[in-house]
Amino acid sequence: MRAHKSRFVQVLCSFLLLAAMLGSAQVTPWNQLKFPPLPAFHPQQPTRIQLANGMVIFLQPDHELPLISVTARIRGGSISEPASKVGLVALYGDVWRTGGTKTKTGDQMDDILEARAAKIETADGADSTSISLNCLKGDFDPVFDMYLDLLHNPEFRGDKLELAKQQMYTGIARRNDEVSSIVGRESARLAFGKDNPLARDEEFATVAAVKREDLVNWHQQYVHPNSIILGISGDFDPTAMEAKLRQTFDSWPKGPQAKDPDITFTQPKPGYYFVQKTDINQSTIAMLDLGILRNNPDYFAVSVMNEIFGGGFSSRLFNNIRAAKGLAYSVGGGVGTAFSHPGMTNIEMMTKSDTTVVGIQALYEEIDKMQQKPPNADELKRAKDQILNSFIFRFDSPGKVLREKMAYEFYHYPLDFLERYRSEIDKVTAEQVTQVARKYIQKDKLAVLVVGNDAEFDKQLSTLGPVTKVDITIPPPPKELREQMGQQGPGGPEGPGQP
């Protein structure tokens, strides 16, 4: 303490104290604040055009930045690939771009595009593939020409197919290294069924079976204007752009209609499923079932129920299992929903090995509570407020509005689905919340997956019920591939990933 400073410090302190007091005199406690209404906001809707050949185009001008982006979503995805060639569409989604066009290799495209900081990329999905571009406005014409070249004249060069396969083999060899990857895979297999196209895994053999002509054939079969929804957003003149796109795509002849396979969904077989992993000290628990479609009339009540049960920082799972019991860092879940097939219901938590059974019981307790008593008025209001007050973030940029509309178009949902969603959420009652909880989360119908190290468990899972051991051993590569990979093969002579 230096004496000569103390006077100054005293004065300063009293000044600061005064300032702080003045400050606090003016502030209003949070629960007494009144909010002005949110200004009316009518986000700009994209213009929808349908060409004579069936192609649908959405134009969404946005002049904030001198950028343009285009995405074409094409019907047909990995659920349509043959079981013996799982991985075909993933390889297609990669090699479509990297394999280049008839006149330019993928590497040449990379050099040209990167010099302009522009991107053209292709991607794969379960029910569609896509080809997109993003570039500075001034580069649009040449970049779009290259995009069209790739759309119409892909070459699928063999060296890039080989490269993509090698990367996929690496993924297969490594798929048991991380818990999250095991859980993701096995959850889908349990909820949807292991032979369901939504849950099939790539294997060394199925990837090795894919040939260049499979990619060529896929492109011929699926890439037709009547299967394409194209969205363009950014800094362009809509009239001129519409004319340009019409001129570009009008003459493209119609092709055969893409059709998704009929997938049969059956309820998972209830019980406990266990994956042993000895190098971890934390279990992941996933309670699984089939969920619902978004066109199910219960969708709105399910959305509110999910919010109360397992969505976000104020949900019951977060409050009771994380905050109150300290059992988990990661916990959440609810009834799964999807546009074109039942979603995956998943209630998931990660807890230390020696609270594995305690954790399962804690989840069960929350399920019971959800079913026994309707939420009180406060809880219901908070859940609805969460959905409705944050609604603006569904469409706070022109790009988001465009993506939303493209999704409804793709799945044949009404284009005003989002607006309807808002009014339907408003109507959900506490009783409906309980009804859907009872209907869609039933303890005795859940498949409960546990990935963990059972030597450290608090109690063995068998004390809860019959346990099925899940073997995650990776099937070894076929002989020719093994030779190509080198004598030892991945992960030693027993094949990779032996636990």
């Binding site: 990167e114 991380e178 000290n281 603006i392």
Partner: protein, 506 residues
């Protein structure tokens, strides 16, 4: 209104670098900066695209500031900032305060017995543990769980999160713009009057986070060992999440002490971006955040890592598949060559045109992925430039190591091409433009640059530095940094027998 950034971006686009003063002026008009009397710096950027806003609060203290034997405390404090205040999260603060004080007393007594090296009395320990647990149960009765998060979410807040790095701690979410006063009320309260309620349960939550990210994850296990080897003196050698024994020992009192030392208004920057009129919003921010008491910015005392003079290596035998990483010490972000390191990162690692992709992945076909990057594990202090490779099945870490070192040797002995250098410059500018498209991203950038350089304008001035990078700079810096004696190697070598995860004490 819709063309808010078009002029600026167009000028950037014209590639008239270095950035003319006039361009900055057009952006400057949209940014309001004010340092309040208590030292807090506030930035407001008006972007009226939609009636929403995002904020990013940066506290210039991270896990590098964790006290000795209290690793994980900065991160713990971040978790505690969601636990509320005397007005948020309690049914009766007056009584809760008394109960919480008892928890601390009971914990101190328990902890004093627990850490006794000699003469610990197991019976007494059990009794003290019970007293501590009873005290927690008594305090728990007053708690409204997660009321802070509930207020944010029920008023339309999205993307609520926070993060702790070695260098800093940050808090963020977005809200509808009519909620700005609510935001100011709860965010200022959170940093003026934090309450350490539910501290010990949250410690358990953080232990679960450690198990998830580190103990039960092979890459997490490797990185913890790797950093512990590459750094000996600087706090970068310790894990941000904390060691298990520290996580099971520090107290709410310790966290409060960390808060008092580091969460000073002068040590914090808040950036707000969205549909906000600075003339209306700044007075609100001043009114609420003026409550935070002023204190001097904490002294920056960090051990400087001494020069490394020999190769170091961590070879982890694990059931996971092989991974290879090597790191080289480099100076902090304030080094005049910072942009040169960024050029090296871009040329070596950015996408399918990058050298490491083309060499290791495309041509040699030995790796599924390979890249080099700076800022590991932070950049406020001298840190690492690291390279990594993921071997393909049937290929080894040794092959990857050789290939990486060949690429480094090339960088040291030959100039990069004009095209490569230009690509780096063009991409940096385009990335800056793309970053202007989101409230969240802009708030983050403004807060970071204001904190790290004392002036958000550095975000644009950085382009000048990028433009000045030459081929000779790249060779010079590569020769300086990428020396064998400055190298630390980390790898996972696959074994089939089980390797136990760190069990943690219990």
């Amino acid at each position: 209104m819709k063309r808010s950034f078009a002029n600026l971006a167009a000028l950037l686009l014209a590639l008239t670098l270095p950035l003319a003063a006039q361009d900055m002026a057009s952006f400057e008009k949209r940014v309001t900066v004010k340092t309040l009397p208590n030292g807090l710096t506030v930035l407001i950027l008006r972007r009226p695209e939609a009636p929403v806003f995002s904020f990013f609060t940066m506290v210039d203290a991270g896990s590098a500031q964790d006290p000795l034997s209290q690793t994980g405390l900065a991160h713990m404090m971040e978790h505690m900032a969601f636990k509320g205040t005397p007005d948020i999260g309690t049914t009766n603060y007056a009584e809760e305060k008394v109960a919480l004080a008892k928890v601390e007393q009971a914990y101190a007594a328990y902890e004093a017995e627990r850490i006794k090296r000699v003469g610990r009395d197991p019976q007494k320990l059990a009794q003290l543990k019970k007293e501590w647990q009873d005290a927690m149960a008594a305090a728990d009765k007053f708690v409204i769980k997660n009321q802070f998060g509930e207020i944010v979410e029920s008023h339309g807040g999205v993307g609520m999160n926070a993060g702790t790095s070695y260098d800093d701690t940050s808090y963020m979410y977005s809200m509808p713009s009519n909620m700005i006063e609510l935001w100011a009320a709860i965010e200022s309260d959170r940093f003026a009057n934090p309450v350490m309620r539910d501290f010990y349960k949250e410690r358990d939550v953080v232990m679960e986070e450690r198990r998830m990210r580190t103990d039960s994850n092979p890459t997490g296990r490797l990185i913890e060992q790797f950093l512990g080897t590459a750094f000996a003196a600087n706090p970068y050698h310790r894990p941000t999440v904390g060691y298990a024994s520290d996580l099971q020992s520090f107290s709410a009192t310790d966290a409060m002490e960390f808060f008092r030392q580091h969460y000073e208004p002068s040590n914090m920057v808040i950036a707000l971006v969205g549909d906000l009129d600075p003339d209306q919003v700044m007075p609100i921010v001043e009114r609420y955040f003026g409550q935070l008491p002023a204190k001097p910015k904490p002294a920056e005392a960090t051990t400087i890592e001494p020069p490394q003079n020999s190769v170091r290596e961590v070879k982890m035998r694990d059931q996971a598949q092989p991974i290879y990483v090597e790191g080289y010490h480099r100076p902090s972000y304030l080094d005049p060559d910072d942009a040169v390191y960024d050029a090296i990162t871009d040329i070596m690692s950015n996408g399918r045109t990058s050298r490491m992709f083309r060499s290791l992945v495309r041509d040699q076909k030995i790796a599924a992925a390979a890249a080099g990057f700076s800022g590991f594990p932070g950049n406020k202090y001298a840190h690492l430039f690291a390279f990594y490779g993921v071997p393909l099945p049937g290929h080894t870490n040794l092959e990857v190591q050789k290939a990486i070192q060949n690429e480094i040797a090339k960088l040291k002995s030959q100039d990069v091409s004009d095209e490569e250098l230009q690509m780096f410059k063009t991409r940096t500018m385009a990335d800056l433009i793309r970053g202007l498209a989101s409230n969240e991203g802009l708030a983050q950038q403004l807060a970071i640059y204001q904190t790290r350089y004392g002036d958000w304008r550095e975000l644009f001035r950085y382009l000048d530095k990028v433009e000045k990078v030459t081929k000779a700079d790249i060779r010079r810096v590569a020769n300086k940094a990428f020396q064998e004696s400055n190298r630390t190697i980390g790898s996972i070598e696959t074994v089939t027998e089980p390797a136990a995860a760190g069990k943690g004490a219990n």
